[in-house]
Symmetry: D2
């Protein structure tokens, strides 16, 4: 191990820069060269690299987004694409590659590793927190706090108007963001993929709350496959309840902003762990944090296994939102 | 003048509580009784009042929304409604009434004053800043900073992905919020009611920017009559540009949150001015701030005259966004 | 178990209200009565109680501080004081008491339990994070993010001026806040109780950084016994380095503000756990969270055992701050 | 006018980057070359220049501090220093120079202009807001909101503990920051240079507040010549009142952070105005904003005339803080 690469792929997440910075400093401290690949797998296919040294990562730890930029690359998901990627890696003289990303990133990585034997270590970055093998993904805590701050603001106006609000947060097929921000924001109801709820049921529950004296309510909705589903739900609930409602779709607002302490520390810890893993001869796995300890999970598990919501936290939401 | 009332009406705006607090303290300091009318004109029609003293307004200056709650009242816009309102005011023994609100509020107020001779003084509260007779409405500065903070966050992710973003801010028939947050956020383009722009024209302008090396762009859109128009614009632009884009609709997010210094000071100054105006025998007018001085504007002007965007600021946006 | 009490004691910490709210809702859901004791042990000695129901805790989850107020009570640390406390608890008909606080609170609690057999369960609330038996105390995450936000702001001006900054954060005899905010803020050096460092050594290390091209640096200092020690350190370092420096003492700024997601969720989880513990017949222990699981620790351990900094995180700080 | 320079001098202030960006874009749009001088007058004396083009100022509008860095230069205050400065300006081929700074900057500028006839236009940047000839200096609004946010946080803990807090904000010989943040924060008392107040008087006023039921109070103190005076005042008040108090010294925290809408817009407007002024043949003056209009003030007035606090706002503080 003499020279390694690092890239960010998929959706950007706050804390990725802390991870890049940690990997660079660790590599340099251990006598390794390290180069950045720009724009994820797309940039990898084009050999779009940039040398990384102390100067390149100075004053980046507080920045949202990723200084290496990112992308989604359909081409990399083809056999030919990955052949090219392997060739680029070989020509660039990289003995190993660190991939910061989510499910799609690791799916691609497992194929690349299987087909070409490339030495790869992953780090989970995903505001959805939907990667198996780590309690928390880089970016999740920042996104949850961003959603919470939105809920806090909306409650001001909800209370002033006796209104029903739908706050749509991210969450493709998981409700982590909705659940955490919903508990913390004191939301009344959740609509998440893990617990399907019809608009009729939702309306019944809201009605119960109004009966015991509530005059405003906030429903946190995980956006699912495509942003905007809250508009439909709001329309349906309006038919059942005849209560004025408003919809806020947070969308990409949740991706940006300065990362929280937790995301910067997690990014730093995992950046160090990824370099160490490469030096220890690991490959084909992701470095995550489980119950406070570094844990390595095979790529295939990270995207094939489903990370469940914490059942206790779900129970607590029900108990406290009543 | 022995006993006065105060209410908030229309959309809530951060800084309204600072105004209520200032009015209460000024009234008490001047030996007046003051009562709050809850839920705007709707509450007025129901005689829903609450006594206001030092304790009622303690620790409220930092709160978003309005402690008196607010509403929109179709009934008040009828002649019968206003007759009832006049009767309630008489029965409650109110010698004058302070109304914190926007265009609709003052439209109603001018009718009430004309029909029943009620003593009324207004204070402009509107995050859209669309009230004639004041440079800035209570709530505008907070909403603009909220929109700016969203633009800052989005730029993180826009740059990480080389993407085009549409950020939809409030603004029914004015572009104040879009213009101020757009300049401050370094947005590339504006879509505002004052300067209609076709999607073809918008696409051309964006293309120019990409030609000189920009890889991401932010377009700030004033929502107009109904939230969501950005989705349509984004679709149209995509046809012209073939560039991936995302939409964020800030909606009611912009209403809440702790008011800024400026909105709390403005709310305080105008709250004092409104009580003073009543004591000075004024009525049928709104207390605003024009070029740093208190100015009183007849109710009819406040909603019939159009407050234009500052032409210099518009010119500066064009100059700086190139 | 039919009727329980709850109080907050010692320094206030953001998230305490989420804990109170969770305890109240859990108690009510389980058919228990619950009363609040105001102003900690001082209020307990005076029988200063307030009934708690759903209304009392509505819209409090986002508030910093504690709605029950808090205090430090020298009298409670006397045998006579505790005798009175036991008597008040008996007269108020409380079958158990939940104490949200830190080391001092649990020291007192262990004496009260030993002397009078009172049924007591604790919950750790401390921005210093210095309580043994929980990975994180309520309030720590919020305080760390507050300190981080200050460091981010200061870096702007440090870089603009080529200056050395000392940022003094809380931390009586532990460096948790300094370590976490220091890693996350990309600080150059730490001064913490766990690793004594002379001003000469500190100056040498800073000199190394300047040699490799740094022009500004941030040193995070744990305040120790009394705020202000940074002024002395800055003076000493100035003699060694002849470099202009500035000091910021965050002090109680770190206590307030809306709690983060993590502190609200932790507060909620532990509030539920505390009520459950009382119902399960537990006493004389604190409910904490260790590696993601609820854990109960005897009162005496909570304040007698020293919670060490994470050695890995310390190592990472050294690695990344170079 | 073919080629101009720009520098930032004195204390950095949020919004300076918006001003630099606006000046650069305006210069380029008007066919002028523009170079940056780094580190204020100190860099000027060393000829430390950097070419400025569109790329140099891209993505800087949201940054606190100043990308050109700044300094205080004793040497420039000597005749010899200024002779050297004039020579550097001549050699660099600069037909005019824009200076963003405060009183000291303009004092120096007036001497340079008088001695060497250099073409100079100033822009007021000062978080203290102590420059005559502009209602608001760049950076003031951001600093005031930073101080306000600190006061809001502190009130959480002040109320939880029934405590007296001293919050020391910046303000060398003016109380603008203290007054604005004090009104907006609902502070009980002010200690500002414009209205000397003995600790005995201050204690008497606080006592009045406690008599009518207040249990906590916040005193905002302008730091004056040297940070830390609040510690002394707190000690003195403690003797009179026997009430537990705490001190927070915000210091340089107030300088950093992303600028507010107002500071970015003001910076942009004045950056455009400064370039236009040079092209219009103006020199020896500062471009400010007075009652919403651009106004040019001779350098000597900017630092010799005293900008008074708004008497109405002072009166309102007294009225509302009671």
């Amino acid at each position: 191990m003499r020279r390694i690469g690092i890239l960010t792929s998929g959706g950007d997440a706050p804390g990725m820069n802390a991870c890049i910075r940690a990997a660079v400093r660790t590599a340099l401290a251990n006598g390794l060269e390290i180069v950045g690949i720009r724009r994820g797998y797309a940039g990898l296919l084009e050999g779009d690299t940039v040398p990384l040294d102390r100067t390149a990562i100075r004053n980046t730890i507080h920045l949202g987004g990723t200084i290496l930029e990112t992308s989604r690359s359909p081409e990399f998901m083809t056999r030919e694409g990955r052949a090219r990627a392997a060739e680029v890696i070989r020509q660039a003289g990289l003995d190993g590659l660190i991939l910061i990303g989510g499910e799609g990133t690791f799916h691609g990585a497992s194929l690349l590793a299987a087909e070409w034997g490339t030495t790869l270590v992953g780090v989970p970055g995903s505001i959805d927190n939907d990667v198996y093998g780590t309690d928390s993904c880089i970016g999740f805590d920042t996104a949850a706090n961003c959603a919470l701050s939105a809920i806090d603001r909306i409650r001001d106006t909800a209370r002033s108007h006796d209104r029903l609000f739908f706050v749509e947060v991210m969450g493709h097929h998981t409700g982590f963001l909705a659940l955490e921000s919903g508990i913390a924001g004191g939301a009344e109801e959740l609509v998440i993929p893990e617990e399907p709820l019809s608009s009729a049921e939702l309306s019944d529950r809201l009605k119960e709350g109004f009966k015991i004296g509530k005059k405003s309510a906030i429903v946190v909705v995980a956006e699912g496959k495509k942003p905007g589903k809250s508009f439909r739900i709001a329309d349906e609930v309006r038919k059942f309840l005849n209560y004025e409602s408003r919809v806020v779709v947070l969308g990409h607002l949740q991706r940006g902003g300065p990362p929280t302490v937790r995301d910067r520390v997690l990014g730093s810890v995992l950046g160090v762990a990824a370099v160490t893993a490469l030096q220890d001869g690991r490959s084909g796995c992701m470095a995550g944090e489980v119950k406070g300890e570094i844990a390595y999970t095979p790529f295939d598990d990270t995207w094939q296994k489903k990370k469940p919501l914490d059942a206790d936290v779900m129970r607590i939401f029900s108990l406290l939102s009543e």
